[in-house]
Amino acid sequence: MASDNEGSKNKSSSLPKLLIPVLGIGGLGVMAVMGIVAAFVFTGWLGQPVPVLGFEQTFDQPINFPHTIHASTKQLDYVPADGLSTMEGLGLDCTFCHRTVTTQANAGVPPVAFCATCHQAIGAADNPELIILRDAANLTNSKGQSAAQIEELLDSGVAAEKLDGPEPVNWKRVHRLPDHVRFVHEPHIRYLTQNPGEIKGTTDGVTEGAAGVCSTCHGNVAAMKQVEQVEPLKMGQCVDCHRDNGAPTDCVACHY
């Protein structure tokens, strides 16, 4: 009877002994996972999302358009494809290409035909980026035929569909907002132009005019060889700025 009791006691006490390290390691694992999740949530909450969420990432565009050459006034710190290492930025205003930004909701990406007004003459013929651009603008096609040659071919009776037509450049969008947000550039540009004191952001190496205004949300794009999103552009940031400037904080000001 007594030995039986002892035996059962040994059995019952040996089982938890085995489980203790397992449970301990498992518990630590669960704690670690919860800690990672909590850190992830808090980073998102504080408006500094971790790169996993898609912020602060850049995209390789179909044409590596360098904003540095076009918008900056500073000397370039890299050698462009044309080899013009001593080249200075042109210092174009943002609105030179993003024409609708002061009047419309969207800033607008210029059509390649607009790029081609300069680049049919400017830029080396063997610059790989400009070859793509000139193809897209139908100045040349993928067979290397120029617009004049295409015209000649068409005149000689070649069907138009046999020639490569222009294809739009499929730019990748860097600054994205969810579909339930309606952001309109026009009033923001107008307000910040009238109240330059409210401009946040750097204008280092940026020309006067719209560029300083734009840097409030887009950062110093003129200094970016590849455009990236530097501000979180989350609702908290919008609402903070709207409160500071007496702008409407009604939900339906943006969500409709």
Binding site: E186, P187, D250, A253, Y256
Partner: protein, 248 residues
Amino acid sequence: MTSANFGGHNWGMVVDIDKCIGCQACVIACQAENNVPLNTQDRVERGRSISWIRIERYWEGDFPDTKARFIPIMCQHCENAPCEPVCPVFATYHNSEGLNVQVYNRCVGTRYCANGCPYIVRFFNYWEPVWPETLRNHLNPDVTVRSRGIMEKCSFCVHRIRRATRTARSQDRQLLDGEIQTACSSACPTSALNFGNFNDPNSKVSTMRKDQRHYTLLDQFATEPNVIYLAKVDTDRKVGAGEAASHG
């Protein structure tokens, strides 16, 4: 601050039933303007079709002396809205411009508001909206495409209000009466639907609502709608025009 920025408007609509011919142009215009999902036969049969504005049709009298009566019904944007206090997440609320606002990204889809609404003008998205390939590029970019699981309703074409307000402010002037037209009122061939600012005593809608034919739908619930109806004038009928509303 907010009301000052928006200029203290009180948007509303006056619907003259006497002019309504039941052509459904407003229904189509609204459907196209506001990215409302297509109502397929399957959805209609299940009673889950979405239509921000609808024409209700009533037959009056016995054959052969029958008359068709039409009444367009959209969200009434009630001042005392039954849908607003029941929302647990404040996805629907009344803003300073008299609009009953539905905030899509706040909505969690409890559907309490639809149960509370006596006008049956709130619609729930039971499915992810889909359009045929040919209609994808027809969507209005100014209006959110509502996803599955949220409530939607007439917004008084708030995107048009915003656009007109922006334009007026950029030109540094006040909004003009009649400058803002909703999709339904601009499509109405007989001007039965009229949109405007009730706070302006000289606006067209303020003048129209003083008509003795005016009434509001289901006024026994004291919802104080911002949509005012003007009763049908029927010369054949012996009863006074003011009683037409209560007549079936």
